[in-house]
Symmetry: C2
Subunit: 339 residues, 2 copies
């Protein structure tokens, strides 16, 4: 709780910029770009930023967990590109946490491009013939943390750079938090951290990206969001992907040792069922990944790394009115402003 | 095992037709068709057949379970139609079993029609304008049984009648079995029951519908089927939906009391994870249902009744070579002929 308050007061005091964490020494990271990509091109620069972010984030999550460590699995694909899969299983705090770096390029079918961005083929600025494929490059870091304790929220973030051979490119990404129980202070901290980071660019950035996340992380067939939001963007270059640890780690620290009942664990697993529904039915990254697999690009275990270790579906479960479960359901059904 | 053998020998003896079970007395079933539908129309006749089948199947599954009973939840929708939801939870044999009857009609968007049938809008025999909606009627019985014991397979069936206001109509359906461990005799029995029933119509029916199921129940992103097949059809009128109990109940009886380890239970839950992946990403009925919900037609809890109570995803799990888990994986990856 101390860290949360320290952080909030730092924001409230109007301090311009969070102190940068000490840079970690990168493991011997070998670029997965094409040999022909020049050293200073955006592809390689973005790759270097996320490779360092992956190290930083894994290090801080391992410190928080205090038990298990992340595996380090570099892989490459016969079709070019590859990634570094880092997964932590069965820790003290985390049931399953993953931070995956991937570099993919090749030719994508138009329905994959449509899955990759809201603007779909228009994004290319060119008219594609039916069936014409789109040469592309994509590089990203994505992460999901599923803690054991139902009082500890799940957190996801994704940060990616996308380029087509037609000369268009964009950054996209987002982060959101998925608690099973509502703690308003935690939500103020999480959203506050991003508001504070984005306000530097302009007062309309946070509200715009926050509203975008409320729309993006919505499960239409449930009429509810999968969690309590965050930010989502398809056009933005933040050079600060490590902000995720500022936003999330203090919440983890605060809640990881709270006691919980079996019934609360079951509720958490039901919310994980919603997480599975969102990811398999609507999530752009997952659907893009599954479509690309059919063309030989990508790695299934990394695409589905976001799924929780366990999930639960109970027929016609309705939280009791007035319960803690009903309280957060209201926030899932009616997105709120937290800051 | 006795029932399995009796059934197989009946087939082998060339007995023409299974004896009909005694008709059960229907609960006071009220038709959910439109008042304007004439008494002898196909809509009402089909509805009567599946209403009786629902009773029969629930009765036999309750007998097999010997513990819990099915709820009986009639529901209707403000937009017309409705259904009877019947779900059994936490029984002796079954973790979750459901048999759902539904009657839906209204106007569907073209992407819902595409989800409803392989032939999509061509099925209507008319050219639809972009955005033009398709008035339709659909009526079906669908069921999934998820047993507790990992040696007891999951079973699914679906049987439906579909009509558009352009004068086209068709029957569709299918059934498949999803074991976590391979028992070749059980597969011979299950597939044999359907072969025996279909051979009556012609020698090419079973092989055609069996191959169709192997294609339909395939999970492209895994390169494997969700189970060990069954039959799938989009054009067929079997008047014998109760065949499912002949095919399944003896397998349940044979395996429900086998001992199992915690590790075997975890494997079952991982296979249930595949079940969730198939249903949310590819299953035509589920996708059609979720799309129709957006138009106010259908009932979410009935559409997602097929999901297991619990499912599990383990990062990069690979069965040990030579293990029982590896044995059935081979059958998931390489569909076999069982009879």
């Amino acid at each position: 709780a101390a860290a949360v308050l320290a952080n909030r007061s730092r924001r409230q005091s109007g301090e311009a910029k969070r102190p940068q964490p000490a840079r970690v020494s990168l493991q011997a990271y070998t670029s997965l770009c094409k040999d022909s990509d020049p050293p200073e091109c955006m592809r390689r620069r973005f790759e270097a930023v996320i490779a360092e972010a992956q190290e930083q984030i894994c290090k801080q999550i391992e410190e928080l967990d205090g038990g298990a460590t992340f595996c380090y699995e570099p892989y490459d694909r016969p079709t070019g590109g590859g990634g570094i899969a880092r997964v932590l299983k069965n820790g003290n705090v985390f049931e399953k946490a993953g931070v995956n770096l991937s570099v993919v390029y090749g030719e994508m079918p138009q329905d994959a491009l449509k899955a990759a961005t809201e603007r779909g083929v228009q994004r290319g600025g060119v008219d594609l013939k039916p069936g014409e494929k789109v040469p592309f490059f994509a590089c990203g870091l994505s992460s999901v943390m599923h803690p054991k304790n139902p009082h500890c929220p799940t957190m996801h973030f994704n940060y990616r750079y996308f380029e087509t051979d037609f000369g268009t490119w964009w950054f996209g990404g987002g982060t959101d938090i998925t608690p099973s129980y509502l703690d308003v202070d935690d939500m103020k901290h999480f959203h506050g951290t991003y508001k504070w980071a984005l306000d530097e660019f302009g007062p309309d950035w946070y509200p715009k990206f926050k509203a975008w996340a409320d729309t993006y992380f919505y499960i239409p067939h449930r009429g509810e969001t999968r969690g309590l939001g965050g930010i989502f963007f398809d056009d933005f270059n933040s050079e600060d992907p490590e902000a995720v640890t500022d936003a999330y780690v203090p919440i983890g620290k605060k809640n990881q040792d709270l006691e919980y009942t079996e019934q609360q664990k079951e509720w958490q697993l039901m919310r994980r069922g919603r997480y599975v529904e969102f990811n398999l039915v609507y999530d752009r990254g997952t659907i893009f990944g599954l479509k690309m697999l059919a063309t030989g690009v990508g790695r299934l275990e990394s695409i589905l790394m976001s799924l929780p270790e366990t999930a639960r579906w109970e027929y016609c479960f309705e939280p009791e009115p007035g319960s803690k479960e009903a309280e957060i359901m209201d926030a899932f059904k009616n997105p709120r402003e937290w800051v």
